[in-house]
Symmetry: C2
Subunit: 243 residues, 2 copies
Amino acid sequence: MLATVASNSDKQTERLVLALRKRILNGEFSPGERLTELGLVSLLQASRTPIRLALERLANEGLLDVIPSGGFRLRSFGLADIRDAIEIRGVLEGTAVRFAAERLESAEELAQVKRLTLEATMEIPITLEGFARYLETNKRFHRELWRLAKSASLFRELEHACKIPFAAPEALVFGVADLEQSTAFIAAEQHRAIVEAIENREGARAEALAREHSRISRRNLEFALRSKELSNRLPGLTLISNQ
Amino acid sequence: MLATVASNSDKQTERLVLALRKRILNGEFSPGERLTELGLVSLLQASRTPIRLALERLANEGLLDVIPSGGFRLRSFGLADIRDAIEIRGVLEGTAVRFAAERLESAEELAQVKRLTLEATMEIPITLEGFARYLETNKRFHRELWRLAKSASLFRELEHACKIPFAAPEALVFGVADLEQSTAFIAAEQHRAIVEAIENREGARAEALAREHSRISRRNLEFALRSKELSNRLPGLTLISNQ
DNA sequence: GTAGCCAACATTGCATGCAATGCTACAGTG
DNA sequence: CACTGTAGCATTGCATGCAATGTTGGCTAC
């Protein structure tokens, strides 16, 4: 038995994917930097084979670029890339809620989203320690919307699209009290409207609402990039090159 | 030097991905079947390491499912899955042409799509040997639309979404003369309209048109599934389970 | 001084052995 | 007859060695 704490899973590769992703999003590498297998061996306490596999996975998550002659480098994201990724997520979520509206069989299927809407709303007087819980509730709400679309294909694409840094709905609802509070109220109203639209089988309305809803992430992103304070609190922002 | 024809690339893994994908889409495996590394060693004349890598890639293309206890199995597609995949492609292409309309700087950027539109139209009296050329032109037209969106993120997602069998725009424009001919005329008109919309910066119209355009693939798919004759010519159809 | 070439080094791609784990089939027991 | 336990087998996960290829830095020639 080795000394490594097999906490996440008993698979090395899983552990490495998580560890590497965390480090990348933590800004521990610079954009464009080559990640060599041997260099990671000492850093992550693992052998080359699982490391290579982890790199492969992160590459088709979109975090790494494949170097044509072999190996991987940290992808460099422009602001435009992230904005587009968020908009794509909005488009896909729009499709999800449209599907949900089109495919709804009974209003009872909406019990869970409604519960989560309410829950998130009641968490809105956001305290510092309640912040993580709010994020979690928000994430679960969105996942539940995805589920209601009743489409494995769409679910897959949504998961794929949300791997891009800051593209996921739960990303970037950060810790600036003022902005956060008002944003949370707006988000809650949008959530309510989306669910209402689904319930009424108003597919087009639901789609439009979900697209607009994703704009919250975009505004937050742009705000964060302008704020020095937030840049310190979100080290991953260094992944985004200015131009 | 080994006897294998290193035609595609000098990388084993690349070759294996292509070879395996081809065999899968050729219906050489049954849905749900487990693909063992050792079994593929003898079939593909390669060692386990690159085979594992190829399996990994096909898995996140969506062709294979990961078995929780290890290994991969051929994913089983329902008809609904493919229909959704086509619709998702339509949604993403809709976004692409909307972006293209919104981001168009000069009408000259459209020279290439216009050329391709014309080219495809002139190829429409489709002969048997011209069929592949028509497909190729069609594919290039769509790729050119993707390019005009000027979004690396969106391009990535489109490529990802089109890896699902029969989801790509060039899939399933098959060889039944009657249907084919009339379908090609309809497609050509839709292509023309999409380009026109982009040129006029009518983003919403372009998006709606592209979505509708993807329905051609859906109709073709459903027709193919009803036709015994086509089932023989398209062995990959066996990938789609009836329910 | 600059451009181009060459050699040493760094890094990956691939092959293969080994250990661990899951799976299957069979036998024994209630 | 059904169910459970177990032993053997099939299969993957990981480690590591080797060969091939790319890369870098210095040296030479112009």
